[in-house]
């Protein structure tokens, strides 16, 4: 009797274990997320992480994953701290990670040298090191749909189309004084010479993010014709409030795509009316795939969003865009390698073969969501077009068509920067593209 009971118990326990055992790395598609749901930049980190995770969950729920394999998306919290980001990378890479989306330029810079060694690509979608766009020099790095440099060139192009052109004007550049904020400065300096404008720079330290009165006093003193902001997190709302305080015309104040979220402008409200920001992903929920996210994930209680209304906001949709690109990379990798259970190397090939045309965006349920993205062996930044949106006091309104970058100027600078990056690294892995 005792033996029967014991055997039965063991059998039951074994059955339960088998049922509950997590799918092994080979049976899943592992896409770890380095999140910052806490810390000073959580306001941006939360919607991005939610959008990213919800889209991948939707694919699992609606399609059963990709190629018959479920996607797993373990999160590791970095608090936007580069050191913690590297720890998260080291802790998660061994589980068959296919790609890393660091969502921090600081973490991206740390992971770029690790990618060829561990054979896991890094996709810094529209951020990170601009030179990653040069595929020959950075085979394992991707930053489509655009780089910070191409974005800056598009913004300057917009300014050049207003008020009689940019020549002879003074451009104020206010930026978070970290790697991310400084990233577009070489391009801005170069273009100031070729386009004939002057630049006044206003670095904002992390400690001064919410104490910017000195910076805006200097703006008042310098009287720039236009202001451009490379801000992030709590810096953005404070900058816009301070700009309004000194009566700076907000329709001449343009933020980059990290300074144009609902999270940045909701606390500012009516005061921020007129402020302009770049964007690369569509706003709202009027896209069939986003409707599927609502249906299969949010309404079923599988999302971490607190409220249904958070879906469709700028940074949530940015996270969705990132997830769509990752999912498309997986599909391409599966197609190229001929197997469902892909590796990081396969994923790299998939990302390099990225080609999302307008027709493909429609097929994916995102018609008009963003510009086509096409990567090649040489160009890991894709198309590079952005659009501008303006705050009307309560929401964003799109005010421009897609603005392509000044590729003729940006590309040679990217090539030079890539050469410089690898110059002192004799063992750096490059690739030949023909």
């Amino acid at each position: 009797m005792f033996m029967k009971l014991a055997t039965g118990t063991v059998a039951l326990a074994l059955a339960a274990t088998l049922q509950m055992a997590p799918l092994s790395a080979a049976e899943t598609l592992n896409v770890p997320s380095l999140t910052y749901r806490t810390g000073p930049f959580a306001g941006a980190g939360i919607p991005i992480a939610n959008g990213f995770s919800d889209y991948l969950t939707m694919l699992n729920e609606r399609d059963g994953g990709i190629g018959g394999l479920k996607i797993v998306n373990p999160e590791c919290e970095t608090g936007y701290n580069s050191q913690k980001g590297v720890e998260c990378y080291e802790a998660t890479k061994g589980d068959g990670a296919l790609v890393y989306n660091p969502y921090s330029t600081g973490i991206t810079l740390q992971l770029i040298p690790k990618a060829p060694v561990d054979k896991i690509p890094v996709l810094s979608m529209g951020y990170g090191l601009s030179a990653t766009a040069v595929g020959e020099k950075f085979p394992w790095g991707f930053n489509y749909p655009a780089t910070y440099w191409s974005q800056m060139s598009s913004i300057l192009k917009y300014i050049d189309s207003k008020d009689g052109g940019i020549k002879g004007k003074k451009i104020g550049f206010i930026y978070l004084d970290v790697g991310y904020g400084k990233e577009p400065i070489p391009l801005l300096d170069a273009l100031s010479k070729s386009m004939g404008f002057t630049v006044a720079k206003f670095p904002v330290g992390v400690k001064e993010m919410q104490s910017q009165s000195s910076h805006w006093l200097k703006v008042r003193k310098e009287k720039p014709d236009w202001m451009i902001m490379w801000g992030f997190g709590a810096m953005n709302a404070t900058a816009i409030k301070e700009a309004a305080k000194i009566k700076y015309p907000l329709d001449h104040f343009i933020g980059n795509w990290w300074a144009g979220a609902n999270a940045d402008l909701d606390p500012v409200g009516e005061v921020g009316k007129g402020y302009i920001a770049a964007n690369m992903s569509g706003n709202g929920t009027d896209f069939p795939a986003i409707q599927d996210v609502l249906k299969f994930v949010v309404d079923k209680g599988l999302s971490q969003v607190k409220d249904r209304s958070e879906v469709g906001k700028v940074l949530y949709n940015r996270g969705v865009l990132n997830a769509v690109v990752v999912a498309e990379g997986i599909r391409l990798a599966q197609k190229i390698s001929g197997k469902a259970a892909i590796t990081g190397s396969d994923m790299r090939d998939g990302l390099e073969a990225m080609d999302i045309s307008a027709a493909r965006w429609k097929e994916l349920g995102f018609e008009g969501f963003t510009a086509p993205i096409k990567s090649t062996c040489k160009d890991h930044a894709g198309g590079g077009s952005i659009f501008l949106q303006q705050w009307n006091g309560s929401s964003w309104e799109r005010i421009s068509d897609l603005i392509p970058p000044m590729t003729d100027i940006v590309r040679p600078m990217l090539l030079a920067a890539a050469d410089k990056y690898v110059a002192d690294k004799p063992d750096w892995q490059t690739q030949a593209c023909e």
């Binding site: 910017q212 009165s213 997190g233 409030k241 940045d264 606390p267």
Partner: protein, 318 residues
């Protein structure tokens, strides 16, 4: 030669040629300095009572502001939310005393400091768990605080005074004066000074250490709430606000960790100093000098008065 001109001549020409702008810089320095004084006061109160630098003061600013906004967002009327937030800060003070400090009597200052670091991380986690990490807007108008601005035209130029800044100066001034009076002229204030001198001696003359600690932590909580409201109204309420509180460190070095007048004067010196230097000399160093300039001022003072401007003279008997 040009550099000497840029350092010693050009800024002063700037000041004289655009006096309206100089007035604006001085006003901003005054407002910022007043708010620094308020933050520093929170540190001074706890340091006086327990000899510990309260690392959690910054997160107390965020936590109190988040509680206020969170309660309002949950449907509680603004003034009731304010009263409830004061209640939450009182509860926090009593909890800190009962659960933490009571067990730390006569421990070294370093241990008490470590305790406040632990408390800081606990409050960060608790705040994020309850209110989430999203940036929130301060309920300025709902609390009856003024918005908008008034413009003057001194010297043919323009001087813009934000009404919220005027309110911040007035409220901070009243709070600082009230607390200074309370702690210097009342029985509790004298008891506080006794506790600051020696825990054991204070206990032996019948002063309740636990009561004093709860009172100063509550007072520091009120100061944190006032700072959170004012600073939150100027920018917004986010966890990044706790970093602003660290700006009080040079104020404390300058004014002395134990002096309420020191916190006031130190705050104003740092406020005026960093604005003037950033605006008129910052460009020579590429800008962004505000972050460290306050520490330079503090260091210079430290060389001549290690105890700060108004700090108690350090006498060590062998």
């Amino acid at each position: 030669m040009d550099l000497l001109y840029q350092i010693f001549i050009a800024p002063f020409i700037d000041m004289v040629s655009t006096p309206d702008f100089l007035l604006q810089v001085l006003w901003e320095g005054f407002v910022t300095g007043t708010l620094y004084s308020l933050i520093a006061l929170g540190f001074v109160l706890i340091f006086k009572a327990s000899g510990v630098f309260n690392f959690a003061q910054g997160i107390m600013v965020v936590f109190s502001a988040l509680t206020l906004v969170g309660l309002y967002q949950a449907g509680v009327p603004a003034y009731l939310a304010l009263i409830l937030t004061i209640g939450v800060m009182a509860l926090l003070a009593i909890s800190v005393e009962r659960l933490v400090l009571r067990h730390m009597v006569n421990q070294s200052e370093l241990i008490l400091f470590m305790v406040t670091i632990g408390l800081s991380y606990f409050l960060i986690g608790l705040g994020q768990f309850i209110f989430g990490g999203e940036t929130k807007s301060m309920i300025t108008e709902q609390l009856g605080l003024p918005t908008g601005s008034t413009e003057f035209e001194p010297f043919g130029g323009i001087l813009i005074l934000q009404h919220i800044d005027i309110a911040a100066v007035v409220i901070a001034g009243i709070l600082v004066a009230g607390l200074a009076f309370f702690f210097s002229k009342t029985r509790i204030g004298r008891a506080l000074r006794a506790v600051a001198d020696d825990h054991q001696a204070a206990l032996s003359v019948g002063i309740s250490l636990n009561q004093i600690w709860a009172i100063v932590w509550f007072a520091a909580g009120i100061v944190a709430l006032a700072t959170g409201i004012m600073w939150g109204a100027r920018s917004d309420v986010s966890f990044a606000l706790q970093i602003v509180a660290l700006k009080a460190l040079p104020v404390l070095i300058l004014g002395g960790f134990t002096s309420i007048p020191g916190a006031i004067v130190g705050g104003l010196i740092i406020g005026f100093g960093e604005k003037l230097f950033e605006v008129y000399w910052g460009g020579l160093l590429g800008g962004g000098v505000e972050g460290w300039f306050a520490y330079v001022i503090a260091l210079i003072f430290l060389m001549f008065r290690p105890q700060g401007l108004f700090g108690d003279k350090i006498i060590e008997r062998v």
